[in-house]
Amino acid sequence: MQKYKQIEVRSNSEIAPTQGRGEKCRTKFASEYEMSAYIDRELPAWKRHLLRRHIRSCPGCAAHIAQLQHTDKFLRQVAPVKASDDFLTGVMTQVSGINQHQRQHRAPLHRIMRFIEASLVWVKRNIQTYSPVKAGTRQARLIYTFSLTLGIFTMVGVTLYAPPGDKTYEQPVQSFTSEKLISFEVIPLEQPKRSLKTVD
């Protein structure tokens, strides 16, 4: 464990004289930001190698990097927090609730799909036998299949998704706020465009 000491607050320059990298350093290949990337091992190998060589000869950059490393080390000393013992159970309970809901929600859709599939097979099988279209042309068959399928779809749709006749009570009651009450529109009476004139 790295020890740290509480000290009286003094000016920053007094405590940490090297704020950035050395004033005289004119390194071109690595920007200021890349000093942090260097300690996080995020630089490409060639740049890392060059910077490492540079640090050996540049006390300003060396001090700067050492300070960044120490700040990082200090931050990492904090113990991580842990989830409470019933966290996992809580998540899994909620998730199974969602799972059940999703399954219930999906069930009618599956039923519709299976129904459509079965009806299409039925249509295909019976189209030749019971088709009222005598000509038996390809086009007529297509029209017949289409209208039959449409009819089935409508029937299924009406059965499963009834019109909201009895659901009106579920609609939220509009609350009349003062803002809504005062914002009404005044519609001016329109003059008739053509008036009938009586001719004497």
Partner: protein
């Protein structure tokens, strides 16, 4: 046999609940840790972690194995953290900088249970934790998120860039600025060992 997060997620897509449970087991502690450092409130961090996992489950069908699961998970968590901080600012109830006093047993450390450690060591640790948490709270949001992801979650810059939706170059700048600012804040708080390195 180790199963990758991405494989577990693909199993989860097919409705395998045990795969999802394994993912929660893997990430529950790191995720709470990340959210806790980002919003500075343990109890809300637990709520938001739960919400993150629920969103992962609900959107499992949209998950593409091309993306790393970890990045995806942290992206969801980051969005929730941002909303939380924004909502708190809007409500103006409790400032982010306000330290929430927390029970010692939320920390993942054996030092607290070890009787060999003297109370002053525990106190010192607590003090250190509070100084760091307070300093982190003073960083701009993106700097704090980037630094937390790199320092405490050990993510690579590329992953952080994906999570914060920015370039790797921007992450480099965020991390560097965050460390520089942390250094100054720690000096201000009276911490010497962290910044004055022996060369």
């Amino acid at each position: 046999m180790f199963v990758s997060d991405e494989d577990l997620m693909m199993k989860c897509r097919k409705g395998d609940m045990s795969a999802f449970e394994l993912l929660v087991r893997r990430y529950q502690h790191p995720l709470i840790n990340y959210i806790h450092r980002s919003i500075n409130d343990y109890h809300r961090a637990e709520d938001l972690s739960q919400e993150t996992f629920l969103r992962v489950f609900k959107n499992a069908s949209r998950y593409e194995p091309t993306a790393s699961f970890k990045s995806w998970l942290y992206t969801i968590a980051t969005n929730l953290c941002r909303n939380e901080v924004r909502n708190r600012a809007r409500r103006n109830t409790c400032s982010f900088e306000d330290l929430v006093e927390e029970n010692e047993d939320i920390y993942h450390t054996d030092i607290m249970r070890d009787t060999r450690y003297m109370p002053d060591v525990i106190l010192e640790k607590k003090e250190q934790r509070q100084i760091i948490q307070k300093a982190l709270a003073q960083l701009p949001e993106n700097q704090r998120l980037a630094l937390t992801l790199v320092t405490y979650q050990d993510l690579r810059y590329k992953e952080v860039a994906d999570i914060l939706n920015c370039s790797v170059g921007a992450v480099k700048a965020l991390i560097h600025r965050a460390r520089q600012k942390m250094k100054k804040l720690l000096i201000k708080a009276g911490v010497r060992g962290s910044v004055n390195a022996k060369i």
